[in-house]
């Protein structure tokens, strides 16, 4: 199931993409890998070895994959810069900045795309928007609303309704992390660690951008000429 990778490229079409392969979790990979598009990355060395391999039991590649895909990757300065520039690009192409959630949606979309389809929450963010749009179209054309992919299916009552407070907290957590309502507990915890790291990076990057725009605004007032923002 690699269709989400095509969605990634479609939703971010202004940004140049490059042909490289992605190794998703537990995938029955085939030559499909060759056809998938992913985001262009600024550190091709780190990416080329990892993304071309499938998930082997080989400890070396495992360690490399862990460094690439683990939640620690969100902490790097490089990742934050990549995200910031892609977000700026996406925001520039926003044609309705006044709608309340447009910026938030764009930010989430770019964040999810940066995960390159390796985590459940990122795939869920990218497909939810499409399924919501499809649900809208379906409702318009047909009175009987055909249930869309993500949301309505998850409203089906789960088989077990445990009341212990632990289970309740797990359920609340699963609702907070996108796309994780029916996921097993260890998977949910894994997704959560990655999601939290990604969110932290998102906050840092957006704070950084807001500061820049604030500074940029005052610079524009002075008729700016080559004002240097020294980062790091």
């Amino acid at each position: 199931m690699l269709w989400y990778q095509i969605y990634i490229s479609l939703s971010l079409s202004p940004i140049p993409v490059s042909l490289s392969t992605v190794s998703p979790r537990r995938a029955t990979v085939s030559s499909f890998d060759q056809l998938t598009f992913t985001m262009a990355e600024s550190n091709p060395d780190a990416n080329s070895n990892v993304s071309r391999k499938r998930r082997k039991i080989d400890p070396d590649s495992d360690a490399r994959i862990a460094a690439e895909t683990g939640p620690t990757r969100w902490r790097t300065q490089a990742e934050q810069h990549i995200y910031s520039s892609k977000l700026v690009d996406a925001l520039r192409h926003l044609r309705r900045p006044d709608s309340g959630h447009a910026v938030r949606d764009a930010a989430d979309r770019v964040l999810a795309a940066s995960a390159r389809g390796k985590t459940r929450w990122s795939r869920a963010i990218l497909t939810n928007r499409l399924s919501l749009r499809l649900a809208h179209i379906n409702k318009k054309h047909k009175k009987a609303a055909k249930p869309g992919a993500g949301r309505s299916r998850s409203r089906k009552v789960a088989a077990q309704k445990k009341l212990p407070p632990m289970q309740k907290k797990v359920k609340v957590l699963s609702r907070l992390v996108p796309g994780c309502r029916k996921v097993s507990l260890p998977n949910l915890l894994e997704e959560t660690t990655d999601y939290i790291a990604a969110l932290e990076m998102q906050v840092k990057a957006m704070t950084f951008l807001t500061g820049l725009l604030n500074g940029g605004a005052s610079a524009a007032a002075f008729g700016h000429s080559g004002q240097n923002f020294s980062s790091s």
């Binding site: 700026v88 309340g100 632990m166």
Partner: protein, 92 residues
Amino acid sequence: MSSRRSRSRASGSSRITDDQIADLVSKLQQLIPEIRSRRSDKASASKVLQETCNYIRNLHREVDDLSHRLSGLLESTDGDSAQAAIIRSLLL
């Protein structure tokens, strides 16, 4: 901690050990600044989950706040000059 039985029933085919879960919970614990500042041994799984939910909600709120601010800034500032400055600084 809740019983092992309920978790193994929920898991389905894969056998999930308590150790695995405890390991993941402790990993999660390291991420949450609230718990990290206190001594890490004390936190129970339930508390970790609670703090995690609160932390994620806080992060969501921060992102919402920032995006509101950003959208306001984007409207008010002139498109080209501000964003050119941003991109220039990001590339440096």
